[in-house]
């Protein structure tokens, strides 16, 4: 979403642009420049910026402002004359018990996903970075491991719905190994649904971590490891004192981005469980969607969306601060 790309360079040209000509102005230039020319000179950089500014205003600012405005009105879109109701819509959202179920589910879903993405991603990245395997073998496994990332969400949802079907492959395998009764309703049972969608999300998202961490691993200078070995460090000590500190900036960036993206996961949940059974997999995204497109309560949905926006902005704030600290 918009939170992740803050286009800092936008202001940069003005900072470097306008003082330049003034400083370079030679002494023999006519001293009295007309006011119009001076104004033109000053405005020129803004002229260059206008296309970006207009695009940002239309594509980012307008929708956000509209949603915030809608959240303060009553019965917006569905009635002709909506009245200003202040924070009544926020009160409605924040007193709805389902909203808190959604917050809790979103947290469980997101934290488990991010942690698992990191652990699995790092594990596979280290396997792929090992000097023990030939390049060809590593290339082969790189393709295999990255596969889940190449499917679109719709395909992933259909695939796992079939696999996890009570008559599906997963149940058949687990049943024939004697691990389960062979008829588990993974997605349809309130006690297993949240874990199941989290598992699907982990499966579909770890390659992103893996690829980034692999790039990071390949960038760690070999001499650091040599030095560590000379000092008598064991492989575990090398991992703790060389690998992890070297990867830390990537790990933090990836974890924050993944956290932001996963909190906003909608399609996967909607296409596998629709937020059910009962409220077992209700997330902030499905909660807001139902308000808007099932109950047509666009005002309340806007209020819920603004709450989600604020939560995302907290995360985005940490991300931007971390990026700045790196620069």
């Amino acid at each position: 979403m918009f939170t992740s790309h803050v286009e800092r360079p936008v202001v940069a040209p003005t900072a470097g642009g306008s003082p330049g000509p003034d400083r370079a102005a030679p002494a023999e230039q006519p001293p009295a420049r007309s006011g119009w020319e001076r104004l033109k000179r000053r405005l020129t950089p803004y002229g260059f910026l206008t296309p970006t500014g207009v695009l940002m205003a239309i594509l980012m600012l307008t929708p956000i402002v509209m949603v915030i405005w809608y959240s303060l009105l009553d019965g917006v879109i569905t009635t002709k004359n909506s009245a200003f109701v202040g924070f009544a819509n926020y009160a409605e959202v924040l007193t709805d018990p389902v909203f808190f179920t959604a917050v809790r589910n979103t947290l469980v879903f997101t934290v488990s996903s991010v942690v698992a993405h990191f652990v699995i991603g790092l594990g596979f990245a280290m396997l792929l970075n090992t000097p023990l395997l030939s390049h060809r073998t590593k290339a082969f496994f790189r393709v295999i491991y990255v596969l889940p990332w190449l499917f679109t969400v719709a395909i992933i949802a259909v695939l796992w719905r079939l696999l996890l079907n009570p008559n599906g492959v997963v149940n058949y395998l687990l049943g024939s190994l004697g691990l389960t009764g062979g008829q588990t309703e993974w997605l349809a049972d309130p006690s297993t649904a949240l874990a199941s969608v989290t598992f699907i999300n982990i499966w579909s998202g770890y390659p992103f971590f893996m690829i980034s961490l692999l790039a990071g691993l390949q960038g760690i200078p070999k001499d650091l490891y040599e030095a560590a070995r000379v000092d008598g460090a064991t492989p575990l000590q090398q991992f703790r004192n060389v690998t992890v500190p070297q990867l830390r900036p990537i790990i933090i960036s990836m974890a924050l981005l993944d956290f932001i993206w996963t909190t906003q996961q909608f399609a996967l949940i909607w296409m596998t469980t629709g937020g059910g059974p009962i409220n077992a997999t209700e997330m902030l995204s499905t909660f807001t969607y139902k308000l808007a497109f099932s109950r047509y309560e666009f005002s309340v949905a806007s209020a819920s969306a603004v709450v989600v926006l604020l939560l995302s902005m907290v995360l985005a704030f940490f991300y931007v601060r971390h990026q700045k600290a790196r620069d």
Binding site: V54, E185, L187, A188, T273, G276, P277, I278, N279, Y296
Partner: protein
């Protein structure tokens, strides 16, 4: 220049630019207007629907050409898309006041659009035009006025797998609830992952509540409404219908996976022969026959309460039609509605759509050459189309609310009475 001043300039420039763009967009949008140009007295009607893509290529356009020939001076422009995008388009049009002159409607949207003032009162238009509404099979009304006319109907009878029933020792499809439960238990007892019945209760697409749960109530002449208001409690018909579903669940005859199952999963379970009986749209007959040509199945009326001998309500979904309130050509729009509802056109449309006509006099062709459809048509004519969700406010959300309560009941968290009481409360707040 200070940073603040720079930002102010930047914002001003951006806002000026944005306004210019928005104004240009409004300008060009304004020309299109609703209903198109009317030069030389000719009228162009916009007709937004999802029907054309679901019919054989060119078939719907042919009907429109016929209408244009019969009504010189009126041109019909078809705006066709899949169901879901038509819904969004109509919803956006209703909000912005730019709805097409004639719109395809689903009964579930009617109440919201009527309350919003987006669709026109057809009762008044029919009266102005002297149209005889007694030939219509049904009309969807809000506060006593008609806002949608079902053009063709897709009914939901009971499908039974002949082989599974025979193996379970049942000769004829069940026609009462007791017979149904016995048959379901017999089929489930065959083992090998076979179940008697299938119940899709997905909260994403909650129409199972309408087609697979409330259908039991309607089939015994019951109603979930009282004078247009929700009546889920103190209503023996609803209680016994929902209790029956819960009993089937407790008897273990319902295929697993219900809570996330959707209509297409239900059809798949039946097609694969894993489920003996289901309630489903007649529109799926061809799909089932194509996917599993060896499957022998029959169609019959949904079983009623033991001893019930009245007319049976049969759930249906419609392609409905309505006229936009903002249309400048309501009289011409009404002509198109009347054309589609006329005996001959309606029979033709039903034939190409494999659906049942919205005109009482029309008889579609396929009824004569296909035994399954002929049986279904008999069921349709013997009973009455019943779908009480059409015309209700936020109909889909009502289904979802009841669906969620049912899930809790079936999960053992509450009784049937508690579920109905909770759903009644939720429904009341939506009316």
């Amino acid at each position: 220049m200070s940073n603040g001043a720079r930002m102010r300039y930047l914002s001003a420039a951006a806002i000026a630019g944005a306004s210019a763009l928005v104004l240009t967009a409004c300008g060009s949008g304004g020309d299109a207007g609703v209903g198109g140009g009317s030069d030389g007295g000719d009228v162009t009607l916009e007709f937004a629907q999802w029907w054309e893509p679901e019919l054989p290529d060119g078939a719907f356009r042919e009907l429109m050409d016929k209408f244009e020939d019969e009504n010189p001076g009126i041109t019909v422009e078809l705006l066709s898309g899949p169901y879901a995008s038509t819904k969004e388009q109509v919803l956006a049009g209703a909000a912005a006041g730019t709805m097409s002159d004639v719109v395809g409607l689903d009964g579930a949207w009617v109440n919201d659009f009527a309350k919003q003032g987006a669709i026109a009162d057809l009762s008044a238009l029919m009266a102005d035009d002297g149209f005889d509404d007694s030939q219509l099979v049904s009309q969807v009304q809000v506060d006593g006025s008609t806002y949608m006319i079902p053009v063709v109907n897709f009914v939901y009878p009971m499908f039974t797998n002949d082989d599974l029933l025979a193996q379970a020792g049942v000769d004829t499809p069940p026609s009462t609830r007791t017979e149904f439960q016995d048959a379901a238990e017999g089929i489930t007892a065959l083992g090998d992952n076979t179940y008697g019945w299938v119940l899709p209760l997905s909260l994403e697409a909650p129409n199972g509540v309408q087609n697979d749960v409330m259908s039991w109530v309607w089939a015994s002449g019951g109603s979930m409404l009282d004078d247009g208001q929700p009546a889920l409690t103190d209503n023996p018909d609803v209680e016994s219908g929902v209790q029956f579903v819960a009993d089937l669940w407790d008897a273990g005859v319902v295929a697993p996976g219900s809570f996330t199952m959707k209509e297409q999963d239900k059809v798949e379970e039946f097609t694969n022969g894993r489920v003996g009986m289901m309630i489903d749209s007649l529109a799926h007959v061809t799909t089932i026959q194509e996917a599993n040509p060896d499957l022998q199945f029959s169609i019959s009326a949904i079983p009623a309460e033991d001893g019930y001998s009245g007319e049976r309500g049969i759930p249906y979904a419609s392609w409905g039609i309505g006229v936009a309130e903002n249309s400048e050509h309501k009289a011409e729009a009404m002509k198109l509605v009347e054309f589609l509802m006329s005996e001959e056109t309606n029979a033709e449309l039903s034939s190409i759509a494999n659906a049942f006509p919205g005109n009482t006099e029309s008889v579609p062709d396929f009824v004569e050459d296909n035994e399954l459809f002929a049986t279904a048509f008999e069921i349709y004519q013997d009973g009455y189309p019943a779908n009480e969700f059409t015309g209700l406010p936020v109909a889909e959300e009502l289904m979802r609310q009841l669906g969620e309560q049912l899930q809790k009941t079936l999960n053992g968290d509450q009784s049937v009475d508690d579920a109905l009481t909770a759903a009644q409360e939720q429904w009341e707040s939506e009316f």
